[in-house]
């Protein structure tokens, strides 16, 4: 056994889309300890809630992260609606579900591209991001934006999607499914990908529970934890929902869960279109949030996010807090890195799909 060496990993690294720093203590090529540190992209967005009106803050919440943008707007709006006792029209809930699942498609395809890139599989990276363009086109067609689209508001949504456009989206998704089949087949069957991801960064069911994992990271270890099962908002309860699970708990299982969730999201969107209720898309919001507090949750593409708001009978909230999925998955990352090879560190980090903007807010 050689002597210990400390290798700094990040904050700038080719596999990291956002900055996080890890001090990796190595013995030969094995990582014996990983010490994370964050703060490179902290913007103090929670504090900004004291300066922006509670309705205006939806725009800020959406800017916590570019990929989970819609989900953050929805989570914040849901928390305010709970605080103020606002009942959102069913059509708005279905539209929110559609946009949220489209965002999940966007996020998972973006991740698949980044994962392929980290493996050195450039053509697969390009194909994943080419497919993702269609998703961004659907978002642009229905909202006018591509990444941050500001369509959610307290009390409902800002735009409706006409029925003919909903049918067109389903037709486009059917076409897209064939293209996703092709990249998923490569991901799930390619020997090089198996060699790099199978048996790497394995987290057992018991460890996943003990480490408080969320999202695809937990589900890849067989933990059936997905807030969409318990969500009273959106259309999940009406449509019925069962999470995608894998049992291997390794990097490959985490990739597999995300790829299979692409199909699930398309099915949810179809279910929403087929059962879309008629009616209003928003209700008027009167008055200010009361002097009370409210917790709510949303299942983001990376896992469960917790939203907390505290009102004080004024236009501004007293406190807004967001616990993001990456924040909850840092602990499992620290454990997974212990004992792995240095060459596997990028893949392990990427398969929790870290979103540092969300994590630091």
């Amino acid at each position: 056994m050689g002597k210990s060496t400390v290798v700094p990993f990040g904050p700038q690294h080719p596999v990291l889309p956002e900055p996080i720093h890890l001090d990796l203590e190595l013995q030969d090529e094995k990582v014996v300890k990983a010490i994370p540190s964050i703060g490179y992209i902290h913007r103090g967005l929670e504090k900004l809630v004291e300066k922006r009106g509670f309705q205006e803050y939806v725009y800020v919440a959406e800017r916590v992260c570019g990929i989970c943008s819609f989900g953050h707007g929805w989570g914040y709006s849901k928390a305010i609606e709970g605080l103020m006792g606002i009942e959102v029209p069913r059509r708005a809930e279905y539209l929110r579900t559609i946009w949220h699942e489209i965002s999940r498609l966007h996020s998972h395809l973006l991740w698949a591209g980044l994962g392929a890139d980290a493996l050195g599989f450039e053509s697969l990276f390009m194909q994943c991001w080419r497919i993702r363009e269609t998703i961004l086109d659907i978002i642009e067609q229905t909202t006018g934006g591509r990444v941050i689209f500001s369509v959610c508001k307290v009390g409902g949504v800002r735009r409706d999607i006409p029925d003919n456009e909903l049918k067109e989206i389903v037709a486009r998704l059917d076409k897209l499914k064939k293209e996703i089949d092709e990249v998923a087949t490569i991901f799930l069957n390619d020997e090089t990908i198996h060699a790099r991801l199978k048996g790497v960064g394995t987290v057992s069911y018991d460890d996943a529970v003990a480490l408080g994992c969320v999202g695809p990271t937990a589900r890849a270890s067989g933990v059936p934890q997905d807030y969409r099962m318990g969500d009273e908002g959106g259309a999940y309860k009406d449509l019925g929902f069962t999470p995608v699970l894998a049992t291997e708990g390794d990097c490959f299982a985490r990739a597999k869960v995300r790829l299979l969730e692409l199909y699930q999201s398309m099915d949810i969107i179809k279910g929403c279109v087929e059962n879309m209720p008629a009616g209003d898309i928003a209700v008027p919001v009167k008055g200010f949030p009361p002097a009370a507090e409210y917790f709510t949750r949303v299942e983001q593409p990376r896992g469960e996010a917790v939203y907390y708001v505290k009102g004080n009978k004024t236009k501004n909230l007293e406190r807004f807090r967001l616990r993001t999925p990456t924040n909850a998955n840092i602990a499992v990352l620290v454990k997974m890195l212990q004992g792995c090879d240095l060459a596997d560190v990028p893949n392990i980090i990427l398969t929790i799909d870290p979103c540092i903007s969300c994590c630091e807010r």
Binding site: S37, G39, G44, M229
Partner: protein, 157 residues
């Protein structure tokens, strides 16, 4: 979503956390808010998609025990609370007690200005290696031209 918040004494925290763990609850977050009395801490636990919260008030010069002995992964939130709010969290599991170096920020925390508030002792210890981040304590080097002007030319009278 049901909102269940249980007022708790700081001395009861570990016992209640142990009870939640025994009953199969997952810890979902720790929330810290500055209030007139000091710090308001909320520990959230989830079971079957129902959340139960423990609410503690810690005086400004007080401290709170770490719950990492029960929920190891709480170290992320406890380190964050220490670094951003300056609250002393005692006995975080030693391998994950980062001593104020978890959140690298150019401006020392906390941001709030209280007459009797102390800066977190560990937060001022943060020293980023040059080239790896922004270190507010390091002054930029003088430009070569200014440095040359400030230094008398060698051999001059």
């Amino acid at each position: 979503m049901k909102q269940l918040i249980i007022p708790t004494e700081t001395s009861e925290l570990l016992e209640k956390a142990a009870q939640f763990k025994k009953e199969g609850y997952r810890m979902t977050q720790i929330l810290c808010t500055r209030v007139a009395e000091g710090y308001e801490l909320t520990y959230s636990f989830d079971k079957d998609y129902e959340m139960t919260n423990l609410r503690l008030i810690v005086p400004e010069d007080g401290s709170v025990m770490s719950v990492t002995s029960q929920y190891w992964y709480a170290f992320v939130w406890e380190n964050e609370i220490h670094d951003l709010f300056g609250l002393d969290v005692k006995l975080i599991a030693p391998e994950v007690d980062y001593g104020g170096k978890f959140f690298h920020l150019a401006k020392p925390m906390p941001w709030h200005e209280f007459a009797n508030a102390k800066q977190p002792a560990a937060a001022v210890k943060v020293n980023l290696r040059s080239g790896l981040g922004i270190d507010a304590s390091v002054k930029p080097a003088a430009k070569p031209a200014e440095a040359a002007a400030a230094k008398p030319a060698e051999g001059g009278n």
